[in-house]
Amino acid sequence: MNTAPATDQHRHASGARQDDPALLLLLGICPLLGAIVSLLAGLGLGIATLAILVGASALASAMRHRMPGSVRFAAALLLIATLATAVSILFEVFLFDLFLALGIALPLLVTNAGIVVQVGTVDSDQPLRLAVVDAAALGGRMILLMAALGAGRELLGQGSLLSGADAFGENAAAITVHLTHGDAGFTLTLVPAGGFLLLGLLVGMHNAIKARQAAPT
C-alpha cells in the first residue's frame, strides 16, 4: 500500500485512495445509472451530490475533534444520510417535476462510494475550509461527469438536449433542443445496460490515459 506524503497530492485527492481517486469517482455513480438519462437529470443529481458533499464534509470537519477514529465512519454515514434526506425534501418542494423524474436516485445518493469515502476519511481530518474546498472540488467533478453522461445518453437515445425543462415552468420548455425528430434514437443508451456500457467506456478511456501517463519515457 503506497502512502503518499501529506502534500498537495493528499490535499486534493478526491477520495482517500491515492493510487486512483478518479476511478473511485467513476465507479461511485453506479447506483445512479438508472436515473441519469438526460442532461437535466445529470445536473440535478450532480448538484444534489455537491450539496450533500459540502454539507457533510463541513459538519464532519467541524466535529473532528470529538470523533475518534472508530466512530468516524458511522458518524459520516449518519451525516450523509441526513443531508441526503434534506436535499431530497428540498427537491420535492422546489423542483417537483425533476424530483418525480429522479425517483429513487436522490435518496440513493447515500450509497455513492465517492461521497462516503471523502467524508469519512479525508474530510474528517482536515480543518473546515480545506474540507469544504476538497468536497466542492469533488462535487464539481461529479457534476461534470453526471451532466456529461446524461447529455450523451439523451443525445444518442432521443436526439435532444435539456428535455424536461418544463420542470422549471412552462415557458422554460422552449429551451429544449431537438436535434433529430421522430423515432431516430439509439435506444440502448437509455436503458441501464447502456448506461453501464457508456460508463465502462469512460473507465476504459481513463485507464488508457493513466497507463500512458505512467509509461516511462
Binding site: 470523533m67 475518534p68 472508530s70 466512530v71 449518519l78 434534506a86 425534501i89 418542494v93 435506444t187 437509455l190
Partner: protein, 219 residues
C-alpha cells in the same frame, strides 16, 4: 478490547471509552432525527400543493380545455374495483361539471399486464360513454418502445379518442394482432394490448356505475 483509557501516554487526543463514543453517536443521531423531522413538517404543506398542482396538470391534459367550471381535482370520489380497475386500493375518479351538470368523468385505471410493470392510466369519458382522452401517468416500459404510451413521447394514446363500447364493438376492442381495431405500437405489442384492455375496462366500469360516479358526494 480494553475499556480502560490508554495508559501508555500516546500523544494526541485522549482515548474515550466505547460507551462514551456510543453515546456521542446517539446524540448525533437524535439531533439528525430532530432536524429531519422539522424539515419534513415544515415542507409538508408545500409538497402537498405541488402534488395537487401535478394532479391538476394531468387532469387538464385529458379534459376539454374550457368545458367545465368546477375543480375536478377536488370533486372526486374513491372507488375500489379490483376486477375492472386493476387494483385493490381505492382509485380516484374525478368529475368535471359545468353549471352543476356532468361534463366528463376521469377514471384512474391500472393496466397490470404492462411489459415491465403496471401502467397507471387516466381515462376521461363523456357522460354518454365516449372516450375523450387517455393518458399514462406512471409507467416503467422500455424506453423507445413501450414508453411511447407516454404522451410526451408519442401520440399513440390519441387512438382512443372518440371511441366507445359500441365503436368498435366488443370483439374489436383489441390490438390488430389479436384481430381487433387498434393498431399496436411497433415493437410494443404487450404494452399496447395491456393499455387497450385497461381502457376498455375503464369504459365498462363507467357504463356499470354511471349514475353513482356523478352523484356520489365528493370525498
Amino acid at each position: 478490547m480494553a475499556i480502560e483509557p490508554d495508559q501508555t501516554g500516546s500523544p494526541g487526543a485522549p482515548r474515550r471509552r466505547p460507551a462514551l463514543r456510543a453515546l456521542g453517536l446517539l446524540a448525533l443521531a437524535s439531533l439528525a432525527a430532530v432536524a429531519v423531522g422539522l424539515l419534513v413538517e415544515g415542507s409538508r404543506r408545500r409538497i402537498a400543493d405541488n402534488e395537487s398542482a401535478q394532479v391538476m396538470k394531468t387532469l387538464r391534459s385529458v379534459l376539454p380545455t374550457s368545458g367545465y367550471d368546477n375543480h375536478p381535482d377536488q370533486d372526486r370520489i374513491l372507488v375500489v374495483a379490483p376486477d375492472l380497475l386493476g387494483s385493490d386500493e381505492p382509485l380516484p375518479v374525478y368529475r368535471a361539471r359545468r353549471g352543476g351538470e356532468p361534463v366528463a368523468a376521469v377514471i384512474t385505471v391500472i393496466a397490470r399486464q404492462g411489459y415491465v410493470g403496471p401502467i397507471r392510466l387516466l381515462v376521461s369519458l363523456a357522460p354518454d360513454g365516449t372516450v375523450l382522452a387517455v393518458r399514462a401517468i406512471a409507467q416503467q416500459e422500455t424506453p423507445g418502445l413501450g414508453d411511447r404510451v407516454d404522451a410526451a413521447k408519442s401520440t399513440w394514446t390519441q387512438i382512443f379518442s372518440g371511441k366507445s363500447l359500441d365503436d368498435p364493438d366488443a370483439k374489436n376492442w383489441a390490438v390488430t394482432r389479436d384481430g381487433g381495431a387498434f393498431d399496436q405500437m411497433t415493437g410494443a405489442t404487450v404494452t399496447s394490448r395491456a393499455v387497450v384492455n385497461a381502457v376498455r375496462d375503464a369504459a365498462l366500469y363507467f357504463e356499470q356505475h354511471h349514475a353513482e360516479i356523478f352523484q356520489h358526494p365528493p370525498e
